[in-house]
Amino acid sequence: MAPTMLWASRAASYLRISMFHRGFSTVLKDLKYADSHEWVKVNGNSATIGITDHAQDHLGDVVYVEIPEVGAAVKQGDSFGAVESVKATSDVNSPVSGKVVEVNEELSSSPALVNSSPYEGGWIIKVEMNDAGELKNLMDSEEYSKFCEEEDSKH
């Protein structure tokens, strides 16, 4: 992610202004997706987790991210933390089961990274998976794009 984007998001977070909301949502090809709008990037047994561009757009400006402690257990489909935006706290669910090995400390001072860089600077936790077989329960990028289109057409 370009350094200028990170600086811009930090400046935006400090000044409490929002990055503009685009008309489309980005979906990255090599990630897996949960129907609660979290993404996971798998590297061997390690999984990096965050919320998708679609999710951050529908949430509004994130002002607070509640993250678990390193060492906490997470379970596929269960909540591991929350984000707050527009006076709403929304639970964030884990797409995989395992143990939290790293958390994104940047988010406590720059929660808006979740909006400006949902797939990179805005990652939330890294998990050591205990069952890679669970990945088959998740959607690939094409399925997830279609899922978002269907959800958005409901209203």
């Binding site: 409490r16 202004i17 929002s18 609660s36 999710a55 757009d57 529908h58 949430l59 509004g60 400006d61 002002v63 607070y64 509640e66 909540s79 929350a82 707050e84 935006s85 527009v86 006076k87 709403a88 706290t89 929304s90 639970d91 669910n93 959800e151 958005d152 057409s153 409901k154 209203h155």
Partner: protein
Amino acid sequence: MRGPLKLEVWKMGFVNYLEALKLQEKLVSDRKLCRIPDTLLSLQHPPTYTLGKRRTDHNLLIPESELKNIGAELHYTQRGGDITFHGPHQAILYPIISLREMGLGARNYVEKLESTMIELSSLYGVKACAGKKCETGVWVGERKIGAIGVRISSGITSHGLAFNIDPELEYFKHIVPCGITDKEVTSLRRETSTALPSEEVIQEQLISCFARLFGYNTVVQKENPSILSDHEEIA
């Protein structure tokens, strides 16, 4: 395309904050399992201060020990938002609805809650508007008439909105309401010159505004809504 949308309304009268919270937790769980339809609790609380997930208790301006003397309780919650006050003559709506089924995100949901209070205000000739950036809520000029604090868990909402019909505004002096300094809190009574009907009528109007804005085409009222579950027995 969406099918017909049904809303079940519980008119609960005066309810203690913790009891309402426990009821909401149960209803959220039932809604997740599709045991109940979208549900709306309509009620008022005795004097209660509440904090959100960020626990911004520096915005409580009197010591916690003093609260009993003024007849108020304090509760920490998992909702979004800062510190606020709930009390008699303030209309509260707690929607327990599935945002996923509606295809709504947090931002749109909160905007519709703001619109619900804005529409109600307009029935009394009061020009209210949504807050600017970082000031979610409903304002008449620089004065806040309605507050919002919401929790969304697996796409199901709890907590909701609080609209000031005619609460005792002195209670707000003991907090920095919603963490916003230098802004007053107001009420429908203060802002309108129209004679107000009974609170029951106003709460009914608030429910109608909500139902219309969210597109419910069937609204039913639950008979004998109670904080007890259907499975609990009265001793």
